[in-house]
């Protein structure tokens, strides 16, 4: 109870900083609009494709029917998660640029409080993103004419994990790099580098181990920090995907989820350690 009140006070102060911050309002609005737009586009495209002759194989399931809607919405919305991450980077690095983080400490926040409230911000942004996914999935699920079902809603949890991972990594990079431009650049370079390594691992090592040595450790690239949460969100199964999957390593979904959680803890700890030890 005391912890909740303590966090509430910190967040109220954070809200004072945010509520008139134009980039926050613009990016949050774009993201909200984007969630519904991207799913609407996919929904319309899917309906169009279903009408086209020759798409019979895919037609066997509508990706926005319950219970597929949770997975489909989570998957497509996952592509937009760079926006809240960029917002987090801007918000955190601006504190360094304008030295307001120093003023917060001088005024009486502890260094721990500062980093904890930024992590709470990352969590709240992830929760809000997830709520938008729930709303969007429900809306398009109902629009598709199917009956409401929570079956498969675990994919929304995976979306939340991915959103939180992106945001926490954004805080981590911001705290270490401190300069907005460099932090955003580093974030994209990191995403690109990790994806490249992931592809190398999956295409070479994982398949080699499975095919040549009969060792199926899953897709090894999925155990890297960002891919751990990325790998949890996949496009809903359809007959084409099922055929392709049979040639790929097994998806150890919950193992990958455990890795994602472990990385979250690691990045939180590294961010906090950096902020506690360094000059501000």
């Amino acid at each position: 109870m005391q912890t909740a009140s303590y966090m509430q006070k910190l967040l109220q102060i954070e809200w004072l900083k945010l509520k008139n911050h134009r980039p926050f309002i613009i990016i949050a609005s774009f993201f909200t609009l984007g969630v519904f737009t991207i799913n609407y586009v996919v929904y319309i495209l899917n309906n169009t494709i279903n009408k086209v002759q020759g798409a019979a194989l895919i037609k066997s399931s509508n990706p926005y029917d319950f219970y597929y809607t949770w997975q489909t919405t989570s998957y497509w919305t996952g592509w937009l998660l760079l926006l809240p991450s960029l917002l987090i980077i801007i918000l955190v690095t601006n504190e360094f640029t304008y030295r307001t983080n120093r003023q917060n400490i001088i005024d009486g926040w502890s260094r721990s409080q500062f980093i904890e409230v930024k992590m709470m911000l990352a969590l709240i942004v992830a929760v809000c993103s997830t709520l938008l996914v729930v709303l969007s999935a429900t809306l398009f699920g109902l629009l598709s004419g199917s009956s409401f079902s929570t079956h498969g809603i675990s994919h929304v949890f995976f979306f939340f994990l991915k959103a939180l991972s992106y945001n926490v990594i954004a805080v981590f990079i911001s705290v270490w790099i401190r300069l907005t431009g460099f932090a955003i650049g580093s974030f994209f370079i990191y995403i690109g580098a990790e994806n490249f390594i992931s592809i190398l691992l999956n295409n070479n090592l994982s398949l080699k181990l499975r095919n040549d040595y009969n060792i199926d450790l899953g897709s090894l690239g999925d155990y890297l920090p960002m891919n751990a949460s990325d790998g949890l969100l996949t496009f809903p199964d359809n007959p084409l995907k099922t055929i392709a999957k049979s040639a790929l390593p097994t998806d150890y979904t919950w193992l990958v989820a455990c890795f994602a959680v472990a990385y979250l803890v690691l990045f939180f700890w590294l961010s906090k350690r950096n902020y506690l030890k360094k000059d501000l």
Binding site: I106, G108, W109, K278
Partner: protein, 295 residues
Amino acid sequence: MEILNIRNLSKNYGTVQALKQVSFSVPAGTVFGILGPNGSGKTTLLGIVMDVLKPTSGTYEIFGQSPTADQRKQIGTLLETPNFYHYLNAVENLKISAAIKGRGVDDIDRVLEVVDLAKRKNSKFSTYSLGMKQRLAIGAALLGNPDVLVFDEPTNGLDPVGIAEIRELIKKLSKEGKTIIMASHLLDEVEKVCTHVAILKQGTLITYGDVNEILINEDVVETSAADLEQLYQLLQRMPGKLSINRKDQVVQVNFSSGTADLAAVNRFCFDAGITITHLQLKKKSLETKFLELTH
């Protein structure tokens, strides 16, 4: 009671030693100046005390206890430059400061009046001049009427009227019994408002204590004689002198301000059999004193 107690504080930036084993304490109720040229370590010292910098070694206590974040809430601080959210106005910025300090917002209008920003309180911080930013930072430090204030170069960026106002404000706060720690590279600023002073030079504490003892104005009696060495030896025994030193072809004898008596110096030398060929009274400026201490 001591408000701040610093023990052997050192800070290195790579190979540069910004602070070297600095120790002093700040008594309650004083206006304590930290004086030194640019780069002497004043801001580094205050930055460590405010926990925005980490010391390489050494410790410090605030209010006689190990430092905590809650103690900083009891201190109003302006450190180096005014740091505010540029997209927010004065009131919104002060609301954040007040919330962090755990104080109500009802004091905001008062401090904005004190620093003469009431008319611009709804303007964004980014539209402020340097002087206005400085005044807002002083206003933020005054929030909640704290008993201890830390000002780092408080008159930076202010016009002459603004400088005079802030100095008067500091004197007024001092009269109210507040403890003020003020870093400055301006000697006259320290001399005009401080009761105590610590002088830093390249990270080393040169001296500290009562400002009237350290930055006292002195009378300098410049003398010369045929045998300069003999004169120097004799004047070592001159009653009432503060210090003595040889400089080129003269011997300088320092007395407290207003106490030098040329006739007495002349008589003292004459009685000892030395005829003075040059005798002149000079006033030592504070700047000279400061330069002596820091060079």
